[in-house]
Amino acid sequence: MAKSSFSKVDEYGFERAADFDYESYEEYMSQYLPILARRARKWARLMGNPNSLKRGPVIKRFMRKGVPAEHRAEVWLWASGATQLQEKMGPNLYRELLEETHDIDVVSTIRTDLPRTFPDNIFFNQGDQSEHRNQLFRVLCAYAHHNERVGYCQGLNYIAGLLLLVTKSEEKSFWLLKVLVEQILPDYYGPTMEGVIVDIDVLGELIRLKAPAIHQQVTALGLPWPVVTTKWFICLFAEVLPVETVLRIWDCLFYEGSKIIFRVCLTLIKSQSSSLLACDDFGSLAAAFKSTTSASSTLNCHQFMKSIFQVPGSLSSSTISTLREKISQDRHNS
């Protein structure tokens, strides 16, 4: 049997599943590698010029086409505003937070989740020897004490874990986590997770407008939207979609903000509409939703990222903010 040239562990340290489809992957990589090479050349030229990172249509297109792995940390810090935030708040914040006395309940909650974070990743699954695991502990612990209202919310472990794999720096991961939680996303991780609950309803409303048949089907079979989508929002697709696809989504998330999440959700749902509409009971519908994220179309990240700007149609920031406002008002009035 021909052996695949791809190893059992991907470039981020995730062990590939036993049923991983090497053949399709190889085919897709043969198309994607030249694209990566071209993007790398363009980015190298861009990053070579001082002060060339300026918000505008050119960079926006660059972000949508993907940031090369070697520039991700720097570009994310810039695009998200984390760099400025760090300058404003002082360079020592992270170290100071680590030196504080830490609340034992918070510490033990985080510790419980450490071995449960990416147990299939070689950087995290080497027991207490895993340097990444210790770094993850420190980032989560520092953040929980920095933002006591949020503290530690399950799900942040996956986000911080992936940030560590990309940036290879706890301090950078800390700042990116901070901008995500406090600036890019509405109140997702607070004590009642109000922001997630509202955004799930916003998505429901968008589906009603943009994919009415699916909305009707889901309502008729009685599947509440949160059942399907809570994890999508909380983990920002980490542990939901293939890792390279997640990172490409985050390239846009850091630059364009949280509306990207809705684009991804709508694309996942709309592109599987025929299989969703074919379901005639609750159980098969729940299963069909689960397979939307493992569809082969999600592995081809380049094509997938193109589709999120086409499949859902127009989606303005003001539509989203109006819906968010209306839904949170309705929640408070009821």
């Binding site: 399950q154 997770m193 949160p226």
Partner: protein
């Protein structure tokens, strides 16, 4: 009669071999082993490092009683306290619940009692509740006495077992005990893909369904 030889392809609810479908929800503090119990029951597996559940997971499994096949729709929920606001959606309309605590952790037993109260107040009045004292294989570090939990379960009319997802002790048994205790007659249930009874129930309990009609 049609149900003479072999398993009936399309069981008639009036005859033997009927299929009943029930919604079952797992509740309890984070890391007590809810997902592990489900994984053991549904797939016969155990993972030393089970990932924490975000939101909820949905699985199905079937158990056979003498004259009935019981199909469980299992909702495995997230245990962290702040996910609590999402929980009612999962236990709404559930006919059965397993409330899990970890026998090595007294706090988790306290949390289990709070869940029992909440279900007694808010869930369907006839819900069958089972209490599972999980991680029974770690009896060396036991913090919750079996008798204490048994007494509490008896006082509150709960099924009770100490379980271990790791060794499989009492895992099938607790689901089986629930299946036996569930009422099979008034539960309207068809075979295969037509679950008229449950479907109506879901709609009744869903405020969103009502909301959309008014739009």
């Amino acid at each position: 009669m049609a149900n003479r030889g072999g398993p009936a392809q399309r069981p008639n609810p009036q005859t033997q071999g009927k299929i009943c479908q029930f919604k079952l929800v797992l509740l309890g503090e984070s890391a007590v082993g809810k997902s592990s119990l489900v994984l053991r029951f549904v797939k016969g597996q155990f993972h030393e490092y089970q990932e924490s559940t975000i939101g909820a997971a949905f699985l199905t499994q079937t158990v056979c009683l003498e004259d009935t096949t019981v199909k469980f729709e299992i909702w495995d929920t997230a245990g962290q306290e702040r996910y609590h606001s999402l929980a009612p959606m999962y236990y709404r309309g559930a006919q059965a619940a397993i409330i899990v605590y970890d026998i090595t952790n007294m706090d988790s037993f306290g949390r289990a009692k709070v869940w029992v109260k909440e279900l007694q107040r808010q869930a369907s009045p006839n819900i069958v509740i089972a209490l599972a004292g999980n991680k029974a294989d770690l009896a060396n570090s036991r913090a919750v006495e079996c008798e204490e939990a048994q007494t509490y379960a008896d006082e509150n009319g709960l099924l009770f077992m100490e379980t271990s997802a790791k060794t499989a002790k009492n895992v099938n048994e607790i689901f089986l005990a629930i299946a036996k205790k569930l009422p099979k007659n008034e539960q309207a249930s068809g075979a295969g893909s037509t679950n008229q009874g449950r479907r109506l129930q879901e709609l009744d309990g869903s405020p969103k369904a009502a909301g959309n009609c008014c739009k």
